[in-house]
């Protein structure tokens, strides 16, 4: 099932400049693994010891996956996964 992963500005250089990448997966973890298979550099940016790094927030349908089932959170077909990093620019 196809899922859209929306990438913030500071991660796009590691994803061939794409603002959104379409991947296969039924959970957040599967979708991210599929993303890393295409753009390997992103793994280290987002993961540490197999877990999401604490400064990376991932949202499915507007909800923070930390308050859902983490990487096990289901993503519906055609769903959208938003990666939100902290930004300090002003």
């Amino acid at each position: 099932m196809s899922v859209t992963v929306k990438l913030p500005t500071q991660l796009r250089d590691a994803a061939a400049g794409n603002a959104a990448v379409s991947v296969e997966g039924t959970t957040v973890g599967e979708a991210l693994e599929a993303l890393f298979a295409e753009h390997g550099e992103l793994r280290e940016r987002l993961f540490q010891d197999g877990e999401l790094r604490r400064f990376v927030n991932v949202f499915v349908a507007g909800e923070d996956v930390r308050y859902l089932d983490g990487l096990e959170t289901a993503v519906p077909a055609g769903g959208e996964l938003t990666i939100l990093p902290a930004v300090a620019g002003g």
Partner: protein
């Protein structure tokens, strides 16, 4: 035979409900709309606390702003109880279900010794300047008074701070504090619209003050030409009603969060990079704080700055004005502030995404008693030293 004026009023009074001031005094604040239908110059001399002013001349046009719900109980008063009786008849004709007129009016109210207040006085210039606000029921005289008496602190007079300063000044925010230690550089002018080409080299707080006074000389500007740090933050931010975060670095954002949670001051926060912006309102203890959303900052190599990565000049304008809007909503108490929600704007795709931000029950800052947040703990996060060193 046509009736005399006095007879006409007597007939109207027999068709409406009248209430004694003693009953009005009892129901004040219990969800009853108290409406003062006198003229502006009469209201200026004194009114019942909490009463809304809709002069009889504008009753039909403006009553819905003051009392939108026709089933709500409405009590009208004037000076002596005659004009309010006529107004009560009008409201009944408009479909208001529970309308009454206070007998004896404000004169009797005062004579009986009930509480009254002298309302805030707008100058003729203010009446003209803010006339478009007065016309909005959500702002009105009450909202404008709140704006004029509000104190808002802008952290940064840069990309975000510039449009915020201009629009909040125009809106009539009474006191605008501005913290910035920088001077205007020509590379700022692509987006920092409070500054000007002939002010390159001038301190940003001075330049912004000039721009603010050009648009509204009535605003009191408090310039702080300094960098916010642990040694000065409590002194600078105390006493402000709302703080607008437009700073360009993480250490200050964390420090600000911790200090504002301790002092219980809401923060309207935005950040920008490239073509993307984020916006949220952190109202201590009503919703999540900055640390609930971002417990730790990203390492420096993943935290690019606008200086290093660039930013679309219009973007801080868009985000800054969304911030200014949230500030005004907080001050006047209108609408749904962006508490517990984060708005993500992507300029290239022209999309807004709303994300839910939850309060972390284990947040090291906002889950504890604010008075226990020690000075030395504020703005501190794991690897703080390493972070700052790496950020250089």
């Amino acid at each position: 035979m046509t009736p005399s004026g006095a007879e006409f009023i007597r007939q109207i009074k027999s068709q409406i409900t009248e209430v004694d001031p003693s009953e009005v005094a009892e129901v004040i604040g219990n969800g009853v709309a108290i409406i003062d239908v006198r003229e502006t110059d009469e209201v200026a001399q004194g009114k019942i606390p909490g009463a809304k002013h809709v002069s009889r001349a504008y009753l039909e046009q403006r009553i819905e702003g003051a009392a939108p719900d026709r089933s709500q109980r409405v009590i009208l008063y004037c000076a002596a109880g005659n004009r309010s009786a006529l107004a009560a008849k009008t409201l009944e004709d408009l479909g208001y279900e529970d309308v009454s007129s206070m007998t004896g009016g404000f004169t009797l109210w005062k004579d009986r010794g009930y509480e009254w207040e002298k309302p805030f006085q707008f100058t003729p210039d203010q009446r003209e300047r803010y006339s478009r606000h007065f016309l909005l029921p959500e702002v009105g005289e009450e909202g404008q008074r709140k704006l004029l008496q509000s104190k808002v602190l802008l952290l940064g007079a840069g990309g975000l701070g510039s449009p915020i300063a201009l629009y909040l000044a125009a809106a009539g925010v009474g006191t605008l504090g501005i913290v910035d230690d920088d001077v205007v550089d020509v590379s700022n002018l692509q987006r920092q619209v409070a500054h000007a080409t002939d002010r390159v080299g001038v301190a940003k707080v001075e330049s912004a003050m000039q721009a603010i006074h050009d648009i509204n000389p009535g605003v009191e500007v408090k310039p702080y030409q300094t960098r916010l740090d642990a040694s000065n933050i409590m002194e600078i931010i105390s006493g402000y009603d709302v703080i607008v975060d437009g700073v360009d670095n993480f250490p200050t954002r964390y420090l600000l969060n911790d200090a504002t949670v301790r002092l219980d001051i809401p923060v309207v926060s935005a950040s920008i990079l490239g073509f993307d912006g984020q916006l949220s309102v952190f109202k201590p203890h009503d919703g999540p704080c900055y640390r609930c959303l971002y417990p730790v900052p990203p390492p420096a190599e993943l935290a690019p700055s606008c200086g290093a990565n660039g930013v679309l000049g219009v973007l801080p304008g868009t985000m800054g004005l969304l911030q200014a809007t949230e500030v005004i909503k907080l001050v006047i108490g209108a609408g749904e502030p962006l508490i517990g929600r984060l708005l993500l704007y992507e300029a290239l795709g022209a999309t807004f995404t709303e994300l839910k931000v939850r309060r972390d029950p284990e947040c090291p800052v906002c889950s504890v008693d604010p008075s226990t947040i020690a000075d030395e703990d504020m703005g501190v996060f794991p690897d703080y030293e390493a972070f700052c060193a790496a950020a250089g």
